[in-house]
């Protein structure tokens, strides 16, 4: 493998890793703080992509569409938590898996009713459509760099929100002892609804920002869901740091696997997971 190919693969792997991290962070956040295992996370990713496709049709501007779409998805997540998820906190994981699986079926069918089974593409905005030349023959599109930058920005924002704000303090209090936080006057129901809607928004945002690269199609949520589960399991469920390491590992393993082991490309990711779990059953940064 020559060096420029290696460079492109590494860049692609890292960028994919960032996108995976964005999806997986929502998943791990909702689990780590609320103890809810959310299978519908991929469906929210898909919903984000379709919403942005739909809004770009009206606004003709990806950035405006993303902002509008995020508002919609935050509200959607809040309502969903209040109307269904909030009944599951005391139940076994099994019921959480089932309810969110039912949610996938509903959302998938809704997507089919509203948008059909066609593939759609979302254009890359004009100002980000350039490419950076890496070598004489290899280019790297600016939009992919933009995705990585946005993911880093969101990760930093999340870190600040949870570590440095009053809301973040309430979230951490609720995660460590729900009853005690409630006794101290924190409206935990509302805090958890906000956490869940942030989780939904993170998934949707990944779908939105990834839409110009991956295009928008039925079943896109499923694929990302399974991969982000692998990421979360590798990193340790509930650990945001673990999600980051896992996402990079999987992003690179998948990208290089497709070139080096084309026959087993889709198996590589799962093999990595099996090896990690054999070594550390609770994930790299998980608490045993």
């Amino acid at each position: 493998m020559d060096i420029s190919l290696f460079l492109v693969l590494a860049l692609n792997g890292i960028q994919y890793g960032f996108l995976l991290f964005l999806v997986a962070s929502g998943l791990t956040l909702v689990f780590g703080i609320m103890g809810i295992i959310n299978l519908a996370h991929g469906a929210f990713y898909m919903l984000g992509a379709y919403t942005v496709y739909w809004l770009v049709g009206y606004t003709d501007n990806l950035f405006v569409a993303i902002v509008l779409g995020l508002v919609i998805m935050l509200a959607f997540g809040y309502l969903l938590e209040r109307s269904a998820i909030s009944f599951l906190y005391k139940r076994d994981h099994l019921y959480q898996v089932l309810l969110t699986y039912g949610l996938i079926l509903v959302l998938d069918e809704m997507q089919r009713i509203f948008w059909g089974t066609d593939f759609y593409s979302v254009p890359v905005p004009q100002i980000l459509s350039a490419s950076v030349p890496l070598t004489e023959t290899q280019d790297y599109p600016v939009y992919r760099l933009f995705i990585s930058v946005m993911c880093m920005a969101v990760a930093a924002g999340l870190y600040l929100l949870i570590g440095r704000t009053r809301l973040g303090m309430m979230i951490r209090a609720g995660a460590s002892n729900r009853e005690m936080a409630q006794v101290l006057g924190v409206d935990i129901g509302r805090v958890f609804a906000i956490v869940f809607s942030i989780g939904v928004a993170l998934a949707a945002f990944s779908g939105m920002i990834g839409a110009p690269v991956s295009s928008v199609y039925p079943g896109m949520g499923e694929q990302i869901l399974i991969v982000s589960f692998v990421v979360v399991v590798i990193g340790g469920i509930g650990s945001v740091k673990g999600a980051f390491v896992g996402a990079m590992l999987i992003g690179l393993a998948d990208t290089f696997g497709q070139v080096l082991l084309p026959d087993f490309a889709s198996v590589v990711v799962y093999a990595v997971m099996a090896v990690v779990l054999l070594w550390r059953p609770q994930g790299l940064f998980g608490r045993a």
Binding site: F31, V106, S266, A274, L277
Partner: protein, 328 residues
């Protein structure tokens, strides 16, 4: 009459009803019911893990589909193969796969177990979905039905839907009896203890990991048996049989029917199947109905249909008790 005896007599009545069903049914419903019973076996095998051992597997379809693929691979295109060869080969293959997947999976627990089983099932799915030699996403046909002969005489013709129906019904009853026996044996007591409190069971000196692995292999092999029956009765196997939708479906059947009862999951298979059959005539958006249905069951019927039946049986027993009281 006690609750368990009420349930037992209801089950006997249900089996008798199923045995008489072919006389009253057309071929379409006969094949549909065959399919429900196969799903019933599949769901029952998962109940051993979820309802009794406390292991929530989200990758059970891997074994179901794998058995079908093994059958498709070993069956020659032009001549039939004996069931006495193909069934043991398929089951052995599935048991081996369950042993390997289980060996990795039982090291984890809770949420990790759910995810790792899902990941292994996905791995199997992608392997078959992308392997062009094995039909890729189209799947494979099984051109000839297995022959069932003793001493050169053909005793069962698996080409006839009614015969297949009875064979599957007999398998369903046999699987139920087998699992009941397993659960009554000392082994069954240990796995039930694991579900209630694994630490304490280990403290009592049981190597719980080995018991969990054994339960996983039994359940996986039985799921493979269901997959074998499905492949024989439909003559086709596709990656859809291994997909996580299939794993999700069978999980739904177990919960809908009522876990930890063995017969509940079979009820679930019939209930959801019949609902599907009814809804199909009205709308093409079956998934929407199914999704809403699943959500409602989780929210309002966590013990499933069997829980409902048991509650009614209890109430019936109490009523009978009260009716007898004035005489004494």
């Amino acid at each position: 009459m006690s609750e368990s005896r009420t349930v037992a007599s209801l089950l006997l009545a249900a089996v008798a009803g199923l045995a008489l069903f072919p006389f009253a049914s057309d071929e379409f419903y006969l094949e549909l019911f065959t399919h429900f019973m196969v799903l019933g076996i599949f769901a029952m095998s998962l109940d051993l893990l979820i309802g009794y051992t406390g292991l929530v597997s989200f990758g059970h379809a891997a074994f179901f589909g794998l058995a079908g693929y093994l059958l498709a691979i070993i069956t020659p295109e032009s001549e039939a193969m004996s069931l006495w060869v193909s069934l043991p080969v398929c089951l052995a293959g599935v048991a081996l796969a369950a042993l390997v997947i289980g060996w990795f999976s039982v090291r984890t627990s809770g949420i990790y177990f759910i995810m790792i089983t899902l990941a292994f099932a996905q791995m199997t799915f992608y392997y078959f979905n992308e392997n062009v030699a094995l039909g890729g996403s189209d799947g494979m046909f099984i051109f000839t039905k297995p022959t069932v002969g003793i001493g050169g005489f053909e005793i069962i013709d698996l080409g006839d839907p009614t015969t297949v129906y009875y064979a599957v019904l007999a398998s369903l009853v046999a699987c139920y009896l087998l699992l009941s026996m397993v659960l009554r044996a000392p082994f069954g007591r240990v796995i039930k203890a694991i579900r209630v409190n694994e630490h304490r069971t280990r403290a009592l000196g049981y190597d719980t990991r080995r018991y969990k692995l054994a339960a996983f292999v039994i359940a996986g092999t039985m799921a493979g048996f269901a997959g074998y029956l499905e492949a024989v009765s439909t003559g086709i196997v596709s990656p859809g049989h291994l997909s996580w939708h299939q794993s999700g479906l069978v999980l739904i059947l177990v919960i809908l029917g009522g876990m930890g009862t063995l017969y509940g999951p079979v009820l679930g298979a019939f209930a959801l199947g019949l609902l599907h059959d009814q809804v199909q005539d009205v709308t093409v958006h079956w998934q929407l109905v199914q999704g809403i249905f699943v959500i409602l069951v989780v929210l309002f019927l966590p013990h499933g249909i069997a829980g409902l039946v048991a509650r009614l049986a209890r109430r019936g027993a109490a009523l009978a008790e009260r009716a007898r009281e004035p005489e004494s």
